[in-house]
């Protein structure tokens, strides 16, 4: 279970996407995610799918890792598409008792499946090609205007950096505690849902205790390295926009225009 989580993983590389300014990557991703949910007919859906595939291809990250990131959400995709299948409107094609399937429902199911898959793939693309520090640094800069209303921008971005850094460490620890409890005869697989939840307590308690101890030590280590908040801090990597970012913006703009044209020219399917 632990090995499958790809959250916050970064694949160093030199592709076009790796070299984009992280700020433009975030903005472009948000714009793109919105446009994925503005596809109302098959042509625009195809357009979005092709674009996603193209982005994955130029990211230079092995396709296997993308599949891994999909693996976790596959249940959500299946459940939502099944639900959508039965919630269509219009003439039923197939009916049994109170369950009915309509053409609209089938379309909906297909759209939801493809949209969610594109959404996950596009977001993975961002995290795979951007180092977590770059990502949080970019967020810090994008959110800087919020400083005016006393929103702790630097603190939030530091917390995110640390959280991303400690996700694998804490997962590893959970694994270790689980094995330790199993070695002492804890049974986590047997019994009904209730007993299984109860069996998680001997894992969660030590995990929390060690997480707090760890947090205290991390804070000490940070103080040892002269950390005292965001003021007076410099960054090793200076991020700035280049022509490359302009190309990225144009690419996404073209897709947005394309989707809108499709939506105007063709009939809505859902």
């Amino acid at each position: 279970m632990v090995r499958d989580i790809t959250l916050g993983q970064y694949y160093p590389g030199k592709s076009f996407l790796h070299r984009l300014d992280p700020r433009s990557k975030i903005i472009l991703l948000i714009a793109y995610l919105v446009i994925i949910f503005c596809t109302f007919n098959y042509l625009s859906l195809l357009l979005v799918t092709i674009f996603t595939a193209l982005v994955i291809a130029i990211s230079g990250v092995p396709f296997k890792t993308y599949l891994k990131s999909l693996k976790i959400v596959i249940t959500i995709v299946i459940i939502t598409s099944i639900l959508n299948l039965f919630y269509g409107t219009g003439e039923p094609i197939w009916q049994w008792w109170i369950i009915s399937v309509t053409a609209n429902g089938i379309n909906r199911a297909i759209f939801v499946t493809i949209r969610i898959i594109c959404l996950i793939l596009a977001s993975s693309c961002l995290t795979f090609t951007t180092s977590p520090t770059d990502l949080t640094d970019a967020l810090e800069r994008l959110l800087k205007p919020l400083n005016k209303i006393h929103f702790p921008v630097h603190e939030v971005s530091m917390m995110m950096t640390l959280a991303l850094r400690f996700v694998p460490t804490l997962l590893e620890e959970t694994d270790k505690i689980m094995q330790a409890q199993k070695a002492r005869g804890a049974d986590m697989e047997a019994g009904n849902l209730f007993t299984r939840i109860k069996a998680m307590i001997p894992i969660l308690v030590p995990l929390f205790v060690s997480a707090f101890r760890r947090a205290y030590e991390v804070a000490t280590a940070m103080e040892c390295r002269c950390y005292n908040g965001g003021s007076g801090r410099t960054r090793m990597k200076v991020i700035h926009m280049t022509k490359r970012d302009a190309v990225g913006f144009i690419g996404v703009a073209l897709i947005i225009i394309g989707v809108f044209i499709c939506n105007i020219m063709m009939k809505k399917v859902i």
Binding site: T133, T234, K237
Partner: protein, 281 residues
């Protein structure tokens, strides 16, 4: 001139209550560390050596007594930043010291806090990583590295801040022999080539032998100090306080007890072999 000087310091982790006996983790210690020196602070678990280390860069303040770093009193809050810039502390667990998800970004964390200009940070990070022989791992994720490699990254993180002194709290604990060698040779190199003052806190006698000076602590007090051969020749004293001496020293000590004549005590296996060869001739 001494770089760090502790003057009769006391420290206790317990709340001071009237009528209750307070156990001091550090119980009246005075010591001096000179610039460019390689000092080993030796003692078994719970003797107060880690507590002592935290006094050197103001992570802890003494209950009584004073600590001076390069002439600055650690009790002076306005000097905190300067003191931590001069004295880098490497803690025991490297997992909890690495704050970024990429090695080079973690090493850059210290200089970034110091407000060093970006292009200078790059230089410092590269040279720090080269100094600990981890340059080719600069793009890796820390959690995928081995224990010894993580320790070396933690040392590089402090090194990039270009401190004048590095204090290391049991840098070789939990490492296998090759990991220990990696870390120790890095420290010796830093001391000899870059002239950085090193304070090595350890409970391994074999490591203390490498230092210019050894300070032995027991129950919050300094037991003895001096050059490694001076300290380890006091075998009875160390044994009485449940401390070991290097194996080579112990062998010669025992042979002496049997009536074999040796003029000095060896510290390393090689020395020991040489001495035995001479006697056997």
């Amino acid at each position: 001139m001494e770089f760090i000087s502790a003057q009769d310091i006391y420290f206790s982790y317990e709340e001071i209550e009237v009528g209750k006996k307070v156990i001091n983790a550090v119980d009246g210690v005075s010591l001096e560390i000179k610039k460019g020196e390689f000092v080993a602070l030796l003692g078994h678990n719970g003797c107060g050596k880690s507590t002592m280390a935290k006094h050197f860069n103001e992570m802890l303040l003494p209950d009584k007594g004073k600590v001076f770093v390069d002439g600055d009193d650690t009790a002076d809050e306005s000097k905190t930043f300067d003191i931590r810039k001069k004295v880098g502390l490497v803690l025991q667990n490297p997992d909890n010291q690495l704050v970024a998800s990429i090695v080079e970004e973690d090493v850059a964390f210290g200089p970034e806090n110091l407000g060093v200009p970006p292009e200078k940070i790059r230089e410092r990070v590269d040279s720090a990583l080269k100094a600990v022989d981890m340059y080719e791992y600069r793009k890796n994720a820390p959690f995928k590295l081995s224990g010894g490699q993580k320790k070396r990254i933690a040392i590089a993180g402090i090194l990039a801040m270009q401190p004048e002194c590095i204090v290391l709290d049991e840098p070789t604990a939990m490492l296998d022999p090759s990991g220990r060698d990696e870390v120790l040779s890095t420290l010796i190199k830093l001391n000899r080539e870059n002239n950085i003052t090193i304070v090595l806190i350890t409970h391994y006698m074999d490591e203390a032998v490498l230092a210019d000076r050894v300070i032995v602590m027991d129950a919050g007090k300094i037991l003895t100090e001096g050059k490694p051969d001076e300290v380890f020749s006091q075998v009875e004293l160390l044994k009485k306080h449940r401390l070991d001496v290097p194996q080579a020293t112990e062998l010669i000590y025992k042979l002496r007890g049997c009536g074999v004549n040796f003029d000095k005590v060896p510290l390393t296996d090689e020395e020991c072999i040489k001495m035995l060869e001479e006697v056997l001739k």
